[in-house]
Symmetry: C2
């Protein structure tokens, strides 16, 4: 196994999805840790919290009341980072200012999406069947914002928004936006300010940096490899190697990618070519739900804690060239900060910010750990 | 002022040094914060801590004793991320593996450098005159690792390592390395595990991501702008605008760059073309020391706390083409996480990791705040 040879030497690994490198220093975990300790989140939360602005029936910051929803609930973020309407801005057009003081206006729409009516049921607590409604809600929001000109529009009849969550404004964005980022910040360590299980959806008139970088790389690979897909070829190789696969079912693999930056970083990658959530049929959604259930439960089991992470879905832009949409390949990134225990995290700070991302354990070592903590959720065993 | 127009609308700004964008959402600071609170570090530390592995005379993790040094002290990191010697590694050379499982060995040398013999004197506590020895030490380490073939070698006689800190191995790297990253992680929030004021120096056989990206952009600008330097032209524009300058003296400006990501991110940029620390004469070092003293003191004054940050020096690579070295322009980045108070930080998480860095206040607003908190260090006023 190539992984083992690298368990003892410092090296850089190449990330073909970003076209960038990370530094791996496997021997470095031996250093003692005297720095900041994370406070693991309280393990016992009530099923309903009258003070939570996400629980069914409660009132939100700006006075709106949540419906008595059953599974998921979607609403426009009360503190959206981008808005549908704002004052005009015309950038400088000439001279040094047009180069150095370059800005472009961004409009868009931001949503919050709860994963469960229960205040204390994270994705790790939910069964695959209970996760399917979350995937349905993601799919519906995506479908309802798709450009009618997108090749995906034909496979994506705007189905239904969760019937208990309707907000007329959801289905009618004021204009066509370029890109939708679906993500979840879980845990206080990842900037989450409410433990009620929820994610966010930010939709913008611009194509953001990360998906733009990935799209360029995906298109380049296709052009240089006779139409093959980068992630398709990568999944095939990982399935053959079996060194970094944490879990697989018919539709998806959960893998610690060769180029992982965070200690227990994983990706969920579709085994076959799915450009976006709307390409998934009912079976596929069940498989994706199972993959999400598997990795989030393993994360929690690893250090017997509510494992913090940021998760994001990368898929085809809402509007784009046919080549961009055809080159897209549905995948999810999980970026979890914990390194050694429920309280000791990896900091991506000085060297990582100024020079190059750096990791301490190899992705192969992380895979071995994550493989061995399947089975029931530790909290259920304790209960 | 162009800045003001942008105080109320969401927009993206372009970072010419990286060739990348960030999303600015100025109205978003209004949202309430119910998430993680940082614990401000204890404000009263002893001048000497018998348990500190950096204090003069104390013993370190692997048994070495520190000398009774006066100002700075340099030693090889006991838990170096890269080492001078390690087993051979030959990457895969063909097939999908050579594309997807690409790795290259990295060797190098890592140092720790204390800024003061006193356990409780951070850069913000030191006067410019007391900071000069730190700059001298940085310069010496850099000079002693410079390629003899570098055009900088002629201006950089290897002067002296701090006489009270000698470690013979410092002056004799086993081979010629490509790049040296000098940086400081300050505060528990930035992964620092010992409050004794210190920084690090990581030297590698490879050119890391960030300096490589910057070098490409700097060279491109020169080629496209008749030999002008990107940071030279940028500083000239900022001096004319006076909207983002926090402090200036004859040699350096402290600026909240147009494209800042962190709420109070700043850069210290040389006003004239200095390729690396070895280009600074005694006067220049005094000016740089003053700029460092000014910004670190203002940071601490802003929220009356030990303001955490990661700081890094970007300068010419140790070894490179003449064009790379000539295109380099000495500057320092400060990436501080605090947003609203000593306990509320900005998290660059979900959206920022998956899509695009996002900030809440504009760099112009940050500049105004930092301008108004000059003067004596708040701790001295209280004492
Ligand atoms: O070397 P230290 O101070 O123990 O470690 C700190 O700085 C390093 C370099 O930025 C990081 O890799 C570590 O995650 C961080 O905790
Ligand atoms: O929107 P929230 O959950 O209040 O905020 C969190 O997620 C956002 C999107 O990643 C970040 O910009 C914030 O810094 C973070 O605290």
């Amino acid at each position: 196994m190539v992984g083992n040879v690298l368990d003892d030497i410092s090296h850089r690994r190449y990330n073909p999805l970003r076209g960038s490198y990370i530094l791996v220093s496997p021997h470095r975990t031996k250093r003692p840790w005297q720095g900041q300790q994370e406070s693991p989140s309280k393990t016992t939360l009530p099923e309903y919290d009258p003070a939570c602005y996400l629980c069914p029936g409660n009132t939100r910051a700006q006075g709106d009341a949540n419906p008595h929803y059953k599974n998921t609930f979607v609403f426009v973020n009360d503190y959206s980072a981008v808005k549908e309407e704002q004052a005009e801005y015309k950038p400088e057009e000439k001279g040094a200012e047009s180069f150095f003081l370059r800005a472009e206006p961004v409009v868009g729409k931001c949503y919050v999406l709860t994963f469960s009516a229960a205040h204390n049921q994270t994705l790790a607590d939910l069964s695959p069947i209970e996760i399917v409604p979350v995937i349905d809600a993601w799919t519906d929001i995506y479908a309802s914002h798709l450009s009618p000109k997108s090749p995906l529009a034909t496979v994506a009849p705007v189905t239904h928004l969760p019937p208990d969550a309707p907000n007329a404004s959801l289905t009618k964005p004021q204009s066509q936006y370029r890109y939708m980022q679906i993500f979840e910040n879980k845990g206080a360590a990842m900037g989450c300010s409410n433990p009620h299980p929820h994610g966010q959806v930010w939709t913008t008139s611009s194509l953001p940096e990360e998906p733009a970088i990935e799209l360029t790389q995906l298109q380049k690979y296709r052009a240089e490899h006779g139409g093959n897909h980068l992630l398709g070829d990568y999944v095939a190789l990982e399935l053959q190697k079996q060194e970094r696969i944490v879990f697989e079912n018919d539709g998806f693999v959960v893998v610690c990618p060769w180029w992982a930056t965070w200690p227990f970083e994983t990706m969920i990658i579709s085994k076959t070519h799915k450009r976006a959530l709307v390409d998934l049929n009912g079976d596929d959604k069940g498989q994706l739900a199972e993959a999400i259930a598997e990795i989030t439960r393993r994360y929690d089991n690893l250090f017997e804690t509510h494992f913090p992470y940021s998760m994001g879905i990368h898929q085809a832009p809402l509007e784009g060239t046919d080549e961009e949409i055809e080159s897209s390949w549905l995948h999810l990134h999980f970026y979890p900060p914990l390194l050694r225990s429920a309280t000791v995290r990896k900091f991506l700070v000085g060297y990582e910010m100024m020079a190059e991302p750096q990791r301490d354990i190899t992705p192969e070592q992380a895979t071995t750990r994550l493989r061995s903590c399947g089975g029931e959720l530790y909290r259920k065993q304790l209960a």
